[in-house]
């Protein structure tokens, strides 16, 4: 269920949506989330993940920092409609036994993104991103927008990226 489809890119692998400038949460995931008040409040929609962090504000010298430490591991990210890459932990603050899915990086009743997936940090440096979001299922073509933003950051400071990452090699 993309918010509009433009020709040329059909549904991708892994059940992704047709290419669109932005994506809503897929109807099956929204239906499921609405059953869980720790994820989706009938009045306010998805809660806002308190760890949601704008990637560019997480830069500290030659590393990305998160939660007071250098960023490590794999986290959820979205490319919002304003072109910001927002990332955060999967842990759900409402219930530690649950997780915070991609839509919570934006929050509200109808969060929309240009792309979403997982971002991987190693030693405070970005090593990879993908388009793996079960909630938004963006078309792989949308990942190019994320790549372009990251390449721009890398061009300004390559040390923010893993030495083996594609941005640093290009």
């Amino acid at each position: 269920m993309g918010s509009g489809s433009s020709g040329g890119y059909g549904s991708g692998g892994n059940g992704s949506q047709p290419y669109a400038p932005s994506y809503h949460v897929t109807s099956d995931m929204l239906k499921m989330d609405k059953k869980d008040p720790d994820i989706y409040n009938p009045n306010t929609g998805y809660f806002k993940n308190p760890t949601a962090t704008n990637l560019e504000t997480a830069i500290d010298g030659n590393r990305f920092v998160f939660n007071g430490n250098r960023a490590e591991g794999t986290m959820t990210y979205v490319l919002d409609k304003n072109g910001n890459i927002i990332f955060g932990k999967r842990c759900n603050p409402n219930d530690g036994r649950k997780r915070a899915p991609h839509p919570t990086l934006i929050g509200g009743k109808d969060p929309q993104v240009q792309c979403a997936g997982m971002i991987t940090f190693r030693k405070g440096r970005i090593s990879s991103v993908d388009d793996r979001s079960g909630h938004f299922r963006p078309n792989s073509k949308s990942l190019e927008k994320v790549d372009a933003i990251l390449q721009n950051i890398c061009d300004n400071n390559p040390r923010l990226f893993d030495k083996n990452s594609k941005w640093r090699k290009s």
């Binding site: 892994n14 995931m29 030659n62 998160f66 939660n67 430490n69 250098r70 960023a71 490590e72 591991g73 794999t74 986290m75 932990k89 999967r90 842990c91 530690g96 036994r97 649950k98 997780r99 899915p101 991609h102 997982m118 991987t120 190693r122 030693k123 793996r132 979001s133 079960g134 909630h135 040390r159 030495k163």
Partner: protein, 148 residues
């Protein structure tokens, strides 16, 4: 203590977040890669597990080892017993991720190691709400560690 154990002990006997230059980090990465070239991954993995279970007996030490394991990208190599491996960390922190795993490194490792080794239940694309802490296989494997 054989030579490989000593090498792994040395590589992991530091804080994961110590302040190193990129050149110093590269030297550690090179050393980790050289171990695999010299001894083979299977030997390195089994020796790392021995190190983990003999030396990392507290939540803090086990999570520290998880970070360094992540930084060496050793999750890219085959792990034939993914639940046994990952459950050791959860056993040591008693599944208290809020207290001991503020950056979700164990979640990252689990959702990487398990799918790479054939366990689709931890594939976040298929199961966005997957949680190691509530995975019955993980809980059972941690219980086995507890009873050893």
């Amino acid at each position: 203590m054989n030579d490989l154990y000593k090498e792994i002990y040395t590589l992991f006997s530091r804080r994961w977040d110590e302040d190193l230059t990129e050149e110093q980090e590269d030297a550690l990465d090179d050393k980790a890669d050289e171990l695999i070239e010299e001894y083979g991954w299977d030997a390195v993995y089994e020796t790392f597990k021995s190190y983990l279970t003999q030396e990392c007996l507290t939540p803090e030490l086990s999570v520290n080892a998880a970070y360094i394991f992540w930084d060496f990208c050793w999750y890219n190599y085959p792990i034939h017993d993914p639940y046994e491996f990952m459950s050791y960390f959860y056993y040591r922190i008693d599944f208290n991720t809020k207290k001991y795993d503020a950056s979700d490194i164990l979640d990252s490792l689990t959702t990487t190691v398990l799918p790479k080794n054939g366990i689709s239940a931890a594939d976040l694309m298929k199961h966005p709400y997957y949680m190691p802490e509530s995975d019955p296989e993980m809980i059972a494997a941690a219980e086995r560690w507890k009873n050893k």
